[in-house]
């Protein structure tokens, strides 16, 4: 019995660490609607700075003072980031801020290695909390007891802050209705900055408090960021109490789960999130969001199919691309094939995100399923390459059909997180089912047949399929189905009132996107000659998001350019420097500042302004915006 009680307390201690970081994220998201990918980076910075301070300052005061000073220092960095970077992009399309914070994260990961060196750092134990307390023969670390107490104290302090201060009231009001708070004359700039500072302080404090029990290293951020997102979503966005309950739930399930299933930790949080979101679409303590007052479609330059001149130009460009094998070597062609494949992948996510208004955080699942589909067909059924390429993506389609049916019931960030949960579940199956998938050692030896084996032939194949897929997705975008889908994106209420079966339309779009991603994955399997669980991992999903956002989510061809720029740059940087993350991060942050609508988005709006034919539409949309 004593054992179960101690295990329960151990779970609570884990929960407290998780809650500190999650609460900051939840506050930031609730008010600013920023999906702060850099939250993990602030957590890591907190740990690094606290390590340096506590190593230099002596005594208990030095230790605890160091922890607090570290958290404050990182909060100041957070304020700078907010003022310099985020303020410029609050009005960018939804999720665009994710791109900026992603760039920051990349930079920080390399910067900490540059500053603190590559070795794992192990900090001091907390003075006064070094040992353990004996409980009926079981040892409970006293630091765990400290954390267990700290969790509710922080929860209580935040409650007081939000319920009993004017600032807290404003924050709660802004969480509920930002526009109304602004209309009442509250200075939003100041409010956002202060909220961001509090959130970052909590993240850095969470990181600093890990020093006595963890090692400080440059991958800490990735270890925590996904998990805290999950906790925030399970709890309900913007709900502090929800984040606390979710942290306890997840940690206790893990503490007791490993007694029965020792491998459960790999997937537990995602399983919990999937179940919670299917049963309660807004998390445990979340509330349904009020319908957006602003119609998103109005900020967009109206979409139109290509004119005949543009069509001709595209064909010419395609013909130029097809001539690459006559001038370039094998390596360039293989890189070209990879880029073409990522154009397919990005275009498929773009279709879901831009046309359907459904941002998926787990799109790599369908890419990976397509790749595994090919691997199973080729290795187990021994089918020829053509058959594998045609049938492999069906696994992606099947996955999308199953998961999409659940996911489209939700919207916004909840949709995104449910797709992430499904992707992680698929990933963990590929990772854990060693007998079938080979686990993380993957499936090898999937090389193309002779007719496609030479780099030039494979390049033509990839380019052709890519052009075909992009054209088909464009056709669908401008078909009646595409209009219905956009209708659902811009106003679900109005669309459903004119008789559009919204959920079915979105589900179909999800399957289309999943299938096309699967096509990309199928080609990718042959390009690399192997399939790994990596092919459906979080980092690939994030890559796809970055490509779409970089190109411009409110444009039709944005994903194509985003994919080319990001992939080409990434391959080039990784090949040229060991600090590719730092350079890529700086580049992304600059892009975010210079092109707040994405590359294509900004180019299009410049062209749109110059065009003389447009004033009518522009004036109309300006009028309608003004009327709001």
């Amino acid at each position: 019995m004593a054992f179960y009680f101690v295990q329960f307390l151990t779970g609570l201690a884990s929960a407290a660490s998780l809650f500190l970081v999650a609460s900051g994220l939840s506050i930031i998201f609730g008010v600013t609607r920023i999906v702060n990918f850099a939250h993990g980076a602030f957590y890591m910075l907190g740990a690094y700075v606290a390590f340096s301070l506590t190593e230099r300052l002596s005594g208990p005061l030095g230790f605890w003072g160091g922890i607090v000073v570290a958290a404050l220092a990182v909060a100041v960095i957070g304020v700078l980031v907010e003022i310099v970077l985020l303020r410029r992009i609050y009005h960018a399309p939804e999720l665009f801020q994710l791109l900026g914070t992603f760039g920051l994260t990349l930079m920080v990961e390399d910067l900490v290695v540059l500053i603190w060196g590559p070795d794992d750092l192990v900090g001091r134990r907390a003075p006064g909390f070094k040992g353990a307390v004996d409980f009926f023969g079981q040892n409970i670390p006293s630091y765990d007891l400290f954390l267990i107490a700290l969790g509710p104290i922080v929860l209580g302090a935040l409650w007081l802050l939000f319920q009993r201060t004017r600032w807290g009231i404003l924050v709660r009001a802004a969480t509920q209705d930002r526009d109304m708070v602004a209309a009442l004359g509250v200075n939003q700039k100041w409010l956002f900055t202060s909220v961001f500072a509090v959130g970052v302080f909590l993240a850095a404090l969470g990181g600093a408090l890990q020093i006595p029990r963890d090692a400080v290293h440059h991958a800490m951020d990735l270890r925590i960021i996904v998990e805290v997102f999950v906790v925030v979503v399970i709890g309900g966005l913007g709900s502090i109490l929800g984040a606390f309950v979710a942290a306890v739930l997840v940690s206790e399930l893990n503490a007791f789960g490993i007694l029965i299933f020792p491998t459960i930790s790999l997937i537990l949080v995602f399983l919990v999130m999937a179940v919670v979101l299917v049963v309660r679409p807004w998390g445990l303590f979340g509330r349904k969001e009020a319908p957006a007052r602003r119609t998103p479609g109005l900020t967009v330059i109206p979409w139109r199919p290509l004119s005949s001149v543009e069509r001709l130009a595209s064909l010419v460009a395609l013909a130029f691309a097809a001539m690459l094998p006559f001038v370039a070597g094998n390596y360039a062609l293989t890189v070209g094939s990879e880029i073409a494949i990522f154009v397919i992948f990005a275009a498929s996510l773009h279709f879901l995100m831009a046309v359907g208004g459904l941002a998926s955080f787990g799109h790599a699942a369908y890419f990976g399923l397509g790749a595994y589909g090919v691997a199973f067909l080729a290795k187990m059924a021994g089918l020829p390459m053509i058959a594998c390429l045609l049938l492999g993506p069906l696994l992606g389609a099947a996955g999308a059909a199953v998961f999409g049916a659940f996911a489209v019931q939700l919207s916004g960030v909840y949709f995104a997180m449910l797709t992430l949960a499904f992707a992680q579940i698929v990933w963990s199956i590929a990772f854990q089912w060693v007998a079938v998938t080979g686990g993380d050692n993957g499936i090898l030896g999937l090389w193309p047949e002779k007719w496609a084996a030479s780099p030039s032939h494979f390049y033509w194949l990839a380019l052709g399929v890519s052009a075909f897929v992009v054209s088909v997705l464009r056709l669908i975008t401008f078909s009646p189905f595409g209009y219905a889908l956009r209708g659902m994106r811009d106003s679900p209420l109005r669309s459903e009132s004119i008789g559009i079966n919204g959920k079915r339309i979105q589900w179909t779009a999800f399957i289309i996107a999943g299938t096309t991603a699967g096509i990309g994955g199928a080609l990718f399997a042959y390009l690399k000659g192997s399939v790994f669980p990596d092919n459906m991992g979080i980092s690939l999903s994030v890559d796809a998001l970055v490509m779409v956002l970089l190109g411009g989510v409110e444009t039709v061809p944005g994903a194509i350019f985003g994919a080319i720029v990001y992939k080409a740059l990434n391959i080039w940087l990784v090949s040229q420097t060991d600090w590719s993350k730092l350079v890529l991060g700086i580049f992304i942050v600059l892009i975010v500042v210079v092109f707040p609508k994405g590359i294509v988005g900004v180019v299009e709006s410049i062209m749109h302004r110059r065009r003389a034919v447009a004033p009518k539409a522009a004036a109309l949309s300006a009028k309608m915006e003004g009327a709001q």
Binding site: F3, A13, P141, A255, A317, F524, V565, T577
Partner: protein
Amino acid sequence: MRRRTMLAAGLGLAVAGLAGAARAEDVIKIGEINSYSLLPAFTEPYRKGWQLAVEEVNAAGGINGKKLVVVSKDDSGKPADAQTAANELVSSENVAMLAGTFLSNIGLAVSDFANQKKVFFLAAEPLTDAITWSKGNKYTFRLRPSNYMQAAMLVEEAAKLPAKRWATIAPNYEYGQSAVAVFKKLLSEKRPDIQWVDEQWPPQGKIDAGPVVQAVAAANPEAILNVTFGADLVKLVREGNTRGLFKDRKVVSFLTGEPEYLDPLKEETPEGWIVTGYPWYSIKTPEHDAFLKAYQAKYNDYPRLGSIVGYQTIKSAAAILAKAGSTDADKLIAAAEGLSVPSPFGEITFRKIDHQSTLGAFVGKTALKDGKGIMVDSVYRKGSDYLPSDAEVAKLRPKD
């Protein structure tokens, strides 16, 4: 779509231009790939090791009079990126052979690439048994002692312990899984009386150490096998120390004696663990002295195991290239099979039967000295003594 293709074409031209520039007759190139950005703690000393080797090879006249050049690429810890890098090295840099890699899945991806493109590949660090056995191919050789070999070395010591109730803690991926599987199999063969009472599989890099330590303690084992390393190991050791998990229990641990993993533990280093590792401070052989002196003179730092691996990878590669007198893959394979080369740990041989080198490892016990973790009572175990019989190996490896 228009600009997409033009950009692609432009990029292609740029890359093609770069490719042609670096070709010289009096140079032999080795293409090297490793997870520099993902695992700097291990790959930085590794890089220093191979840079020292390149310097030494060229100071001694290069390879049959030609200068040795190593072109190094980062794989960002992803198999797909490693293949892109391998492709660049082979297609654009025209390297004579590929070398390097750390993670097992990346090693396998590059090995498969080498097999497909018919390029010689010397895997430096990946530990998976698959790379020389179940997924072995004729183009791939491996330097470091495999999972099986390290398990066999540790089992030899573990079997001497009186402990009968064993628990295991290992990261939940192929390396951890196969380390535990081989260890269990070999130990149970030697000691049929042993009971396996618990196993814990925390996700790699994400151990929630408190509950794991509690769970293991609840099973009340007499001895524990640990396979975690890096930051996970730190958390495990700290929780284990505080909760008294290691008190009066024997612990056998993979890799923990390597400075990369032992040094961060500092005064928390648990005493008396039976580990594999690299006690550079207590190896007294002329070969190692020479290496140590050269390394410390060049870098003013002590070597880690990664330094040895990087150094020996390039030294071995140079010996293979020199013996082959050619950069033809088949001639390189013929030269490498059965080749013996000197190393800081003494002479090693690349076996013909499975392309595994006989590089060994040190087995010893952890101890605490002046607030630092060290290995004591360490003995070098030759790799050749811890491999299965040739008949068994032949069964494990697919026919070429």
